[in-house]
Structure formats: C-alpha cells, structure tokens
Point group: C2
Amino acid sequence: MSDKVRIALDAMGGDHGPAVVVAGAALALERHPSCEFLFFGNAAQIAPLVEARHKLKAVSRVVHTDIAVRMDDKPSQALRYGRWKSSMWLAIDAVKKGDADIAVSAGNTGALMAMSKFDLKTLPGIERPAIAALWPTLRGESIVLDVGATIGADAEHLVDLAVMGAATARILFGLPRPSVGLLNIGAEEAKGLEAVREAGRILRDEDLPELDYRGFVEGDDIGRGKVDVVVTEGFAGNIALKTAEGTARQIGQYLRTAMSRSLSARIGYLFARSAFAQLRERMDPRRANGGVFLGLNGIVIKSHGGADAEGFAAAIDLGHGVVHDELLAKIRTALERFHKPPQQAVGGVAS
Amino acid sequence: MSDKVRIALDAMGGDHGPAVVVAGAALALERHPSCEFLFFGNAAQIAPLVEARHKLKAVSRVVHTDIAVRMDDKPSQALRYGRWKSSMWLAIDAVKKGDADIAVSAGNTGALMAMSKFDLKTLPGIERPAIAALWPTLRGESIVLDVGATIGADAEHLVDLAVMGAATARILFGLPRPSVGLLNIGAEEAKGLEAVREAGRILRDEDLPELDYRGFVEGDDIGRGKVDVVVTEGFAGNIALKTAEGTARQIGQYLRTAMSRSLSARIGYLFARSAFAQLRERMDPRRANGGVFLGLNGIVIKSHGGADAEGFAAAIDLGHGVVHDELLAKIRTALERFHKPPQQAVGGVAS
C-alpha cells in the first residue's frame, strides 16, 4: 500500500449532492494531506467545484456518469438501473478494482449496502455484512454494530460482529484488546434472546485473544461507555441509534426553549456562551458521522444523507483512519483465526 | 365501582422498601384524596411509618407478611418461594380478589410480571401481557409498548398491543382516537420485519374506530411525539427505552461539566438558574415513572426499583388515572370488538 489514501466518492449521494461532497473532501484534505480523491457523478456539476479549490484539484480526478441513485429508491430498484453505471456503483467498484482504498457515499443506505454486497461480496465465512457506528459516550467513543444492515441474527453472526467490531476498535481507538458486550434486555444470564445467550456462551468459551468479552449490556450502558464494542442485531441496533439521536435532539430543544424563556436566562446564556458552545460540540452528531460497512471485501463508509460539509468530512476522516491502519487486513486475519478451516480429509473416500 | 380508588402496595419492593413506598403513598394521597391504601409487607417496618402520617393512617391498612421478593431473583425462583405469601404476590392477589383496584410495586420486573400473569391470567384472546411506558416527547407524552414483557412478537400480538395501547392513550391523554405507529427501521413499506409489515397491513385494512393508524415510525420519531402510541415487540422496546434514559443521563452529565468549567459559565448558571430548574424538571425521569402491565385481568403498575418517594408517587398517580377511567373495562371492550368470537356452528356435527 502506498502512503497515499485513495478515496472514491459518490458525489451525487446525500440530500445536497456535489456541493457538500466536494466541500467535505476539501476539509478532510486539510486534516489528512495524504488523501487522493476520485469523484464519481455529473462532471458538469463537480468539476467547477473542484477547480475552484487549488489544493483539492491537485489530488482529484472526476469521472463522469449521468446516473445517480435516488434517496428514496428501494435497493432492488437502485440495483436495476444503477448497477455498472451509477455514481454510487462506480465509487464502490473503484475499491474492487483497486483504484481506491475506500468508498464514501451519503446516498441511500439500502442501495449502498445492496450494491456493496453485490460488487464486493462478503468475506470468507461471513454471510451478511454489518454497519458499525461510532457512538459518543461519557468515556469517549464506542463502536455499536449492527445498526441496520440486516434484521435478525443467529449466535454465529453475533460472534462475527464481535470479532469485526473489535478489529475496528483496535484500529480506531488504538486498543490492544477492546472490551465487548452483547446488547440485551437484562444483565442476568437467563434473560434475553436465545441467540444472544448462545453468542455469550461462545464468546466466553472461546476467550479470543483479540477481544475481552464482558457479558451482556443494556441500552443505558451504551452512552455510559461500559464497553468499547456493543454487539446487536440490526433491527434493535438501528432503533437504539435512532432513539439516541432523537433523545439528543429533544433535549437540545428543551435547552433552547429554557434558555430563551426569561431575560435572566438569556443573560445567563451570554455568560455561559462558551460552555454552551462546548456542549453543542459534544452533542454534535456530525462529529460521529459515518457508518462503516463491515464484512465485505472492501471498506465502504456511509455518511448521513443530511450531513453538511463538516459531517461529510468526518465520514472521510473515519475512512482515512481505518484504511491507514488496514482494517480489512486485520478483520481478515481475526476471522481466519476464528473460522478455522475444516480439516482436509486425507486418504478418505467420500461415501 | 365506588368513588374510592383502592391501591394495593408491595411495601417491600424496590431498592428502598417501605420508607419510599409509604412516603410516596402520602404524596399521592395529597394529590388524590380519593385514594385508599393496602400495604403488604413487614408490619413492624411499615406501621410506624404509616402511623407517623395522620392523613395517610386514616385511609390505610397494613397486612403483614415475612416474605419479600428479592430484586435479583429470577422469576421462577420468586414464584417458587413467593407465591401465595410474598408482599408482591399479596398486592397482586388483592386486585384479583377485588380488595383493590390496582397494585403498585417497585420490585423485580420479571417476578412481578410472572406473578401477575400466574395470578390474574391474561385477558380473553391475549396470550402475552405487555408493559406500557409513558415517554416524554416534544409534544407532551406518548405511550410506548411493549418495553420488555415478552421477547418477539407476531403480527397479531403487535395488533393487540396497538389496541391496548390506544385504549390506554384514550384514558390517560383524553384522546378520542389516538394516533398509532409501528416502530420499524425505515418508513418505506418494504423495510423491516415481516411481522411488523403484516401488522401494518392488518391495522390499515381494519381501520379500527378506536385508533388512527399512521404507519411506521423510527426511533427518532418517538421523542418527536410523532404518534400518541408507539408499538413494538419487547426486546427492541426495552432497548429503545433504556437507550433514551442513558442518552438523557449522558447529556445531563455533559451539561453539568460544561456549566462548572469556568467562572463565567458558573455566573451564567446562576442567572439562568430557573431555566435550568425547568430543564431539569422536563428531563426528570421521575415524572414519567411507572410501567403499566396490560393484557391481564387486572391492572398492575411497575415503578422503577430505584425510584424515590416522588417517583413512587408518580407511579401511584398513573395507577389512579387509569383506574379512575376504568382502563381495564375499556381494553376489554376494544379487544372484544376486535377479536370477534367464532360463529357457533348450528346443526352441524363435529367429525
């Protein structure tokens, strides 16, 4: 791998398209000068935005396509008309061809996952990919997965999620043996889904060198930062993520209302302005923008569709971080160790 | 039904036992003078607390038992030693015998549900009970159910939850036809669990007079107050509830840290003190303390185990509210209308 991190961008994805994608790339480039960009999409819209930015222009190439996946398409629709030729597909395919190290898109999640799976295929031993989210906690950040790639999970899939999540935490947080918990609805052994209990037994018995299994965690343990990696199937994980986002927005709204209600509150707000700015920054969902698709032969990052340039840059930062430390290679190694290959029969005859 | 609301209390439940239960009852009595109380538990501990409160003493009776269910018992253990004789069982059984209109306990949720189900039995047509929570939203409050009584749900169970949740919302919020949403991981028809999609089809086709079905909602729609009743199976519902509680605590912690960081922030805090007090009140989990067990032949309210007297009083308030408006009778009527009895075969011979 060269020192350069080559990033393929779906310039047409998200609510704001090229304007945010190009501006986000320019921001990320300032923080990570080793970035190089491949923009896929409508060249007439992208090229002027890139050319207006001197530094960005020097490390960017624009590849034109007329086709863009719409935000409200079903995955099957998007695959039908967008395969081989949409900006989303071409960004993913650049990773497959080795032209890019990662792909980033703010487009339709379902379509992005369907195309990533179709083009990159899943890693050996992995049947279903997952989306890992960075979750801000009182102790820093945790990784929560799966936050919506697949619904339902058997014990083996949950164990795979634990292994892939731990590999991601090792890289992103620089931890030798990240702590891992299984999301459940009670800390007692007896509670919860059978698949979750079985996954707990496997993780405890295997006692893997690359992760420190800590048992079950509950919804309120996520924000507490009780473990570095929280493992759950995609339905509950997505609901947890969206509920936390909704609660943060709700409290932000309460706070704004409370602070504008009386003169003395407004005066107080002025005095505490920098404290509020700090609070806003900690609650800023843009800081943790970007879901990592795991379990594929290549890394794809999903940015929020509504992200602004700062948010999109955070998704690129995340991609840069995992590529730089070769997440994919580390996941492959961890999975290979765990999914021991079946012993070859020697001298036997299949009956 | 008399004007009096007779409330059976498990005085030994929760982290603090009789001290909080008796003090909570006294607070609730001030707000609802029509309350009468039956305290079950260790009379030597309860009686002095009741006798110290003149008004409370006049409307209370203490029934002694030595047995108390522990907070960390499994439901099966609690049933084994606590059936027929624990304070928790006796409170539930008072509802069954008609000695009380509702039972309130801050004890172990699993044990309370197991005993309630064993003693009260489920309503006709309902196989599994549910726990409904009051959830503070930007528009006021919503009801979310099931938040952890049973794991997994088929379409029929989700529809029953919608009917029972809507009956509760009609009473608690005084709405003629509450809006109902099914919690899912995408607003599109195509997404989510098959059981959720099927429940959506049933609710749309039936177009019930007692609820206004609005389709799927996502995790962040709960706090927004998009619908009056959010329906989900218990695993995802419990994770959503706990995650929201955890996020609120996390942000409260950020806020405290930010406001004590600099002198000007502390001065600002002083000016905005009443605004912060108002914010604290809105974020106060005690205001919405109390899960209602639905689907049983009797109403049982679960208070948070760690609730203080104000929190426990809120759980009693909730019970008072639903009994006063005869929640159980309304649920029975709604379910009967929905679960049409099978037609009797006339003149036929069973083969």
